[in-house]
């Protein structure tokens, strides 16, 4: 239930949540900055994380997402700003007194300790009775399916097993927030895909708040309830995965998350068209909230492009012609790069399933591209 509210309450980046009383943020970051010399790794960043949420920080390497995670964990002191956990500022609390645990990208398993001792380490620091420690360690090891490996040393485990020990070790203390720094980056593709599902399943079972840092957009899209897209120490957009993909708020986000085609033009007088693009006059589905004649970009995902050999009947759809310069067969999809009139290349993705005896478009073929007005997103920046 919690998850449902959190997923739907936030609609866009700077959204005020005054009307929503059900979801009080668990973690609130206010104007947080971290400078290393003259470089701002995190730059006046504000963000709310809600209880039970699976939040992903997505961005290219060096965007400051790991620094933000380390600020929350307590390994870095902020230059400015506050980190509120349940309303209490923890920015100056040392990492060993924060009810926050982190899973490291390198896993950071203690090589001299067994799997069991690694997992028990955190509970021992709390001074819990030995019997309780043993019980909780056994439970969590069973949960990550490592019950039979309790006595092994980390170097006797496979990469996937080590990853699960690291996860168990950070979960066993039942932190208020679990931070995961590229938790799947060191695994091979097959294992990574399987582990993503396990991670989501686990999060659902234990109802903890997860913040994951990743540079892999499909990973973020798949596991997270909400994604914060970061660049140069700032959050570019915070929204649910579908929202980020379908309604990016800037060209940068649109381009970073998935593939996209841009057509630059100017807002038409009726606010329902964009004029002077490579495809001529383009119709959009909703009125553009910008002055007429302002430069804007019409963004269309490649999979929303329809490819045909004949010129489409002039209807409501936008269309443009071009020549195929490259084709890429990806199995379920084929990607076409089409050189259009102004010399730029437009990408179209076509699903390969259900294609009959119709000949496949090939390099050099002249084709027509079309897309309905609702497939277009207008971006002003």
């Amino acid at each position: 239930m919690q998850k449902f509210t959190s997923k739907h309450a936030e609609t866009s980046c700077g959204d005020e949540r005054s009307g929503d009383t059900a979801a009080r943020p668990l973690l609130r970051i206010e104007g947080l900055s971290k400078r290393f010399g003259s470089v701002a790794a995190v730059d006046r960043l504000s963000l709310d994380i809600y209880p039970g949420e699976f939040f992903a920080l997505l961005g290219p390497s060096g965007c400051g997402k790991t620094t933000l995670l380390r600020l929350i964990a307590g390994f870095e002191r902020p230059t400015a700003g506050r980190i509120l956990l349940d309303g209490v500022d923890i920015a100056s609390v040392p990492p060993y007194r924060r009810p926050v645990n982190m899973m490291f990208q390198s896993y950071a398993l203690f090589p001299h300790l067994s799997v069991e001792a690694n997992v028990a380490f955190g509970l021992k620091q709390e001074g819990l009775p030995r019997r309780e420690i043993a019980g909780r360690v056994a439970d969590i090891l069973a949960m990550v399916k490592l019950g039979d490996y309790a006595a092994r040393k980390p170097h006797q485990l496979s990469g996937g097993q080590r990853q699960r020990v690291a996860l168990a070790r950070s979960l066993v203390k039942r932190p208020r927030v679990l931070l995961l720094d590229e938790p799947l980056a060191a695994l091979d593709k097959k294992l990574r895909d399987a582990t993503r599902f396990e991670l989501m399943e686990l999060q659902r079972q234990i109802k903890l708040t997860f913040i994951i840092v990743t540079h892999d957009q499909s990973e973020a899209m798949m596991v997270a309830d909400r994604i914060g897209v970061m660049d140069q120490g700032r959050l570019m957009q915070v929204a649910a995965p579908a929202e980020i993909y379908q309604r990016p708020n800037s060209r940068w986000v649109a381009d970073f998350v998935g593939d996209i085609n841009f057509f630059q033009g100017r807002v038409g007088d009726d606010h329902m068209t964009v004029e002077g693009t490579a495809a001529g006059r383009l119709r959009v589905a909703a009125p553009i909230e910008a002055e007429a004649r302002t430069p804007v970009w019409v963004a269309v995902r490649p999979e929303r492009m329809l490819l045909s050999r004949q010129e489409p009947a002039s209807g409501l759809d936008n269309s443009l012609g071009g020549t195929i310069v490259e084709t890429g067969y990806l199995g379920e999809l084929s990607i076409y790069r089409i050189r259009v009139a102004d010399g730029s290349a437009v990408k179209a993705a076509v699903v390969n399933a259900g294609r009959g005896g119709e000949p496949v478009p090939a390099q050099g073929d002249h084709v027509w591209l079309s897309f309905p007005p609702e497939a277009a997103t207008v971006l002003t920046r």
């Binding site: 007194r97 390198s106 950071a108 203690f110 955190g122 620091q125 170097h155 485990l157």
Partner: protein
């Protein structure tokens, strides 16, 4: 590319002979039945037996062991702290100066170290004896310890300490439960090295020693001046065995931890 050629073989044989022939001869002659050093008179262990009765030699050997034990322990403590400071505290003010001051004794001639120590002890009018030798040996050995421990700390994964703190261990407990166990083999190896260095030092010890603190090398050297006695060969043989074992254990420990560190990184 491991080929045994005549050149390689000759180089190895000559190299080893050059290093170890004198030692082998000394060991063989320690089992010489003849009183005359240069004349072979058959096998015997009589000099080892006589050695046991020579209180001066045994006393000096015990003194050497005590000095080596105390100075190696002190040097290990100080050297480890120096290594931690160099590796952990980043670019603190005067780091380069500190680093070069720690490494200087590595290349300083022992005569100079010994002489400067002597001058210091005379200047502050300290009675020379057991403790002055210990202090001098600690000074000499701690830089070797710092080098050995620093090498181990340099490839220590800092995220291990962060993980320990993240799991609730304050800095001191993190050091004791995570850092120390992981660098312990290097510390033990460094202790062994310091022990061996102190045991075989003659120059610094003879500058800084006083009445009642004669170490074994000093004793041997003074006896040699009166002529080579077969007992000395026996003492030296025992000495070689002790130092050899210490160095062997030290290098095994270093290798062992190195191997463990590597295997942890390789994906099975």
């Amino acid at each position: 590319m491991r080929r045994v050629t005549w050149f390689n073989l000759c180089a190895i044989v000559l190299g080893i002979a050059f290093l170890y022939l004198p030692i082998v001869i000394l060991v063989i002659y320690s089992f010489n039945a003849s009183r005359l050093v240069a004349v072979w008179g058959g096998w015997s262990t009589q000099w080892y037996a006589q050695l046991a009765g020579d209180t001066a030699i045994v006393g000096a050997a015990l003194m050497s062991l005590r000095v080596a034990f105390v100075s190696a322990s002190l040097a290990t403590l100080l050297g480890t702290l120096a290594a931690l400071a160099l590796v952990r505290f980043g670019r603190f003010r005067g780091r380069l100066l500190f680093a070069s001051m720690i490494y200087a004794p590595l290349v300083m001639p022992e005569v100079i170290t010994g002489l400067s120590m002597l001058l210091l002890f005379v200047a502050i009018s300290v009675d020379r004896g057991f403790w002055t030798v210990v202090i001098a040996h600690t000074t000499m050995a701690m830089c070797f310890v710092a080098v050995v421990v620093q090498a181990r700390l340099a490839d220590f994964d800092m995220s291990l300490e962060e993980a320990a703190m993240d799991l609730g261990a304050p800095p001191l407990r993190t050091f004791l439960t995570v850092t120390l166990p992981l660098i312990l083999p290097a510390i033990v190896a460094a202790w062994m090295l310091a022990f061996a260095l102190s045991l075989d030092d003659l120059v610094i010890a003879s500058f800084t020693t006083g009445p009642g603190a004669t170490t074994l090398p000093i004793r041997i050297y003074s006896e040699i001046r009166l002529g080579v006695k077969p007992e000395i060969n026996a003492v030296c043989t025992i000495f070689i065995a002790v130092v050899g074992i210490a160095v062997l254990v030290a290098s095994l420990l270093t290798k062992l931890t190195g191997a463990r560190g590597t295997s942890a990184r390789i994906e099975p």
